[in-house]
Symmetry: C2
Subunit: 600 residues, 2 copies
């Protein structure tokens, strides 16, 4: 199968050699699976991605959904692809068998979704949001809600959305105003306006289940007064059949620079008598409920950013191998034939940079998925707590680092294509536009930086942070013993040491009560921390590759040598960024706070 979505060798390497997903098969939850069934699910997802999703990725970018006579109209390939996906059962890839799921390990389940994202993020979003909304009901909802809504969602009959943002409150959720009044029969009537609701209206599924944040009449102000409601587009009768249209109206479509295949909507709830909604979980506990699924959603965004970067890299690689242009620096003879772009040092440097970013990003996202699995199968409370804590710590990085660096990879993919790269006749410019959403939705770099530095690093007395440093140190020790990797190990150790010092200094400033100063450069801290962790994952990849070269491995030797090259590159070209940022962070500088508003 010809596809530029993933290097399947790398996928196998990352899942089975680096992250050793087969380990999980020893646990009861996954005991019905084997390496073959995991591979079969991935093969199926890749086939659907390449054959049903990728072919219309450009078409839905060029022809966005429109709103005509009260209906959302879009290209027919979207429904066809989603119908095929529904038939495969992949929508419920990680769900329990008893819910009709495949009960795959999270790393494999997330990866199946990731392949669809790399192929066509605009069409995939309908499926991704449905999975996310169903997960929310499954973790927070009543048995009746699970049966009446989540199960049809997992089967692909109903689709889902997440309705958080309002026009006047984006990241500041505590300020949202949507009201929910009790109707006396256990249900509620919602009134409010939501914006940026992806997949908020369409005719792809029988029904749409909106997961809506709102306030009860007795809600305290701020984030402690937010409740979660389930608001279907069509009411659902007791027997599961559809009832009347609920009071949810499409107020308009938003037009984005990327993800253009996904309807982005403004929704008005309760313009008439109030939209019928059902409380999910406890009153005033909506934000906590939402955060229960936030880790997986944020890993999903990070993995999506990786996959957009990854497909851009593979397209650039193919182009660099085929396109002949110019001659090597030393060759001045114009009568010799032009050489493939990949022969030029600058092109190779860009390709290697992309490889380091996208394969590093994939290792990072899958590290998150692995921790989700560790949490699920942990044998002791202690193990579960540690897996959960490490996952909490890494989540802001997994969300942000690929959104920054795999977007940069998309920019490099354009650069490798030269002038063709920015034309819409080639796919790489679309990946760049699509990926530009990822640094913002599900929480900006600013939000993630505050989460990491303001909360996660010092959570539980810094236990998870210390454990991460301990694990990195163990990898460094192991790599130091290998002559081929000792220099890279030393570079990582230096970077970690610098950033640890910076962390201590910043936390001391915070403890002194200078909270704003301590957090002023949280975004830069996030970037440095992400680079450090990806440096660690590269060293781990290099250790696995070095061992495979010594002892034999399932992939060709050139593949493993490429991993060593990419680790060299990341250590030498990228880790210095951690040092530079760490030196800056140690100064706990207040340049931005010091500027008067009128001095801009």
């Amino acid at each position: 199968m010809q596809q530029n979505i993933i290097n399947t060798r790398d996928l196998e390497f990352q899942l089975f050699e680096l992250h050793q997903v087969e380990d999980f098969l020893q646990y009861d939850r996954y005991s019905d699976h084997s390496r073959e069934t995991l591979q079969a699910a991935l093969d199926l997802a890749l086939k659907v991605a390449a054959e049903e999703f990728a072919p219309h990725a450009r078409a839905v970018d060029e022809e966005e959904p429109t709103f005509e006579n009260g209906r959302v109209v879009m290209r027919p390939e979207v429904k066809k692809a989603l119908d095929v996906l529904k038939e495969t059962g992949l929508l419920a890839a990680s769900q329990d068998f008893e819910r009709g799921g495949m009960q795959l390990p999270s790393a494999v389940g997330q990866m199946c979704v990731g392949l669809l994202k790399g192929a066509n993020v605009g069409t995939q979003a309908y499926a991704g949001l449905t999975i996310a909304a169903a997960n929310l009901i499954l973790t927070q909802g009543s048995d009746e809600q699970k049966q009446r809504y989540a199960e049809p969602m997992l089967a692909g009959r109903f689709f889902g959305t997440m309705c958080l943002t309002e026009p006047h409150s984006g990241s500041s959720l505590g300020d949202l105003r949507t009201r929910a009044e009790p109707a006396g029969d256990g249900s509620y009537r919602l009134k409010g306006n939501k914006i940026f609701i992806s997949a908020g209206d369409h005719e792809l599924s029988e029904n749409i289940v909106h997961m809506v944040l709102g306030r009860l009449p007795d809600a305290p102000p701020g984030v402690k007064g937010i409740s979660l409601f389930l608001v279907p587009k069509f009411l659902v009768n007791e027997d599961g059949s559809l009832g009347e249209r609920n009071d949810v109206a499409l107020a308009g479509l938003i037009h984005k620079m990327g993800y253009r295949g996904t309807t982005s909507t403004m929704l008005n709830f309760g313009e008439k008598d109030g939209a019928v909604g059902y409380l999910v979980g406890e009153p005033h506990n909506g934000l906590a409920a939402m955060f229960h699924m936030m880790n997986e959603a944020r890993i999903g965004v990070g993995l999506g950013a990786v996959m957009l970067g990854y497909t851009g890299y593979l397209h650039a690689l193919e182009y660099a191998r085929e396109r002949r242009q110019g001659r090597p620096v030393g060759n001045k003879d114009p009568q010799t034939p032009q050489v493939p772009l990949i022969e030029h040092a600058d092109i190779r440097r860009m390709l290697l940079t992309m490889k380091a970013y996208v394969e590093g990003g994939l290792a990072l996202a899958l590290q998150g998925s692995r921790l989700v699995d560790e949490k699920k199968v942990a044998k002791t409370d202690e193990d579960r707590e540690m897996a959960a804590g490490l996952l909490d710590l890494l989540t802001p990085l997994i969300k942000s680092w690929p959104s920054q660096y795999c977007l940069e990879a998309n920019s490099l993919a354009i650069q490798v294509h030269g002038g063709y790269g920015y034309t819409r006749e080639y796919p790489v410019e679309q990946f760049y536009r699509d990926n530009r959403l990822n640094p913002i939705h599900e929480g900006t770099h600013g939000i993630q930086g505050m989460d990491l530095l303001g909360r996660k690093v010092s959570m539980a007395g810094g236990r998870y942070y210390q454990e991460l440093l301990r694990r990195i140190a163990a990898t460094v020790e192991e790599a130091k013993a290998n002559e081929r990797l000792a220099d890279n190990a030393q570079r990582l150790e230096d970077a970690v040491s610098q950033l640890s010092e910076a962390t201590d200094i910043i936390l001391a400033v915070k403890k002194e009560g200078q909270v704003e100063r301590a957090l002023a450069n949280a975004s830069l801290y996030l970037e440095a921390f992400g680079h450090m962790v990806v440096g660690w994952l590269w060293l781990r990849q290099a250790l696995v590759a070095a061992s495979a070269l010594d002892n034999g491995g399932p992939q060709p030797e050139a593949f493993y040598r490429g991993k060593l090259n990419a680790c060299d590159f990341f250590s030498r070209y990228e880790l210095p960024r951690v040092q530079g940022l760490a030196r800056l962070l140690k100064e706990v500088d207040t340049a931005a706070l010091d500027v008067e508003a009128e001095s801009f």
Copy 2:
């Protein structure tokens, strides 16, 4: 006049306080001008930019030119804006009075064009290409060509294009294949295919004058066999009236991610009997002829990148002042009102970063324009040679640095807007798309890096490079004497010292014959060099601002304090990048060259 194109205080500061353009008024060439006439030209350009160009910038992005029944059709506002521009005479802003020009200093003339770019780069390109093509005829053409073609171009009756690229040869111009056969009457018949020809067809002007690179029958291979031809869309009679349609056919339109208002075309020359063309300059000297105008064209690209970044910054600043969202870190009370975005540390950091990039980029581009003027008015050959040499040295930076960092400013402008930033309902996403072309057209970063490190730094025995270092050192000494700036001066000195060492090491490696290795990281060298020079320009801006704060200046004090803040920021947050890159460059690392092609 409400506009978000430029901070007029900064424009005045940069032109008249930093770069002291008034100095040039003492020379004969500019003696008819005064501060008032320069200001009047800038005011006029800004008015046209804000009132005629900016209002339809989104419209031409949404509705690209189309090709219908053999004609290019586009929004009528484009012609209207260009007609107004034509009436102002600004097309010939820097041209001699005797050619109907305004004979403005280059810094002011370029800036007039720059304001149009910031307002609407898609519409401006028609004018910009016309000026560039006219300049080429004026410097290289015969008197008859100047009169028959260049003068109607400067008057806006004819528009122009530059036809270099062919489908199989982009950056590798030596491989182009367009053939020109002598017709026996002094003219030539051209046959060949050109691609990426901006403004290649339209009905905005009476005629289009294509400047085409091709080969004569006896041409040697490679770049030494390229000649320059003038090929009009309609032949021009001796009396200046238009004759028959030439054999130049529009083969198709290319669709780009940005600059969508500019037709991007594939042109076929000579599908029938050959397109009538006229040799410009000497046979086989076409590339040298083209390079005569390349410096100004590359400054133009750099300034355009600055201006797109600048308008994005101003839009983000306005949004951050108006949009209320969230509360400062310390305030947990949800009943207090939300604060403007600009109150948040992370938003301020992004705004300050943008300010440092776009105002630094403007200083850099205007430094180039100033050298163009110094070259023109130099009293001695020595002065002229030094101005020309410094301009040659800086040109690759002026082209590339803003294309990288002001594009990054555009990305930050999206980030400040949050989810609104990536919607097409706000302008900042378009600037980001428009600006993504600038790192490629007129020579990629890779090409510019090779030019800087492979040629410019060591040109004339390194004379110009040494002079630049000497000037930077002088600024450092001056700033060290000022307590407020001493730390920033020290940081610049350290960066210069590191990069100078790297330069010496790399040139030694090159001298040993390891040319490919020496130039492998030329793009990173270019980036570091650009940051060093912008750091120097920030220190110079700070010196001027500090002096104005001490002794009084024409701008409000808050403005000057902002310059000091931005210099602090650039010195502390950005100059460390030079150090990091310099340490890497000193290793003359070959990571990219070492990877086997099959290891990707």
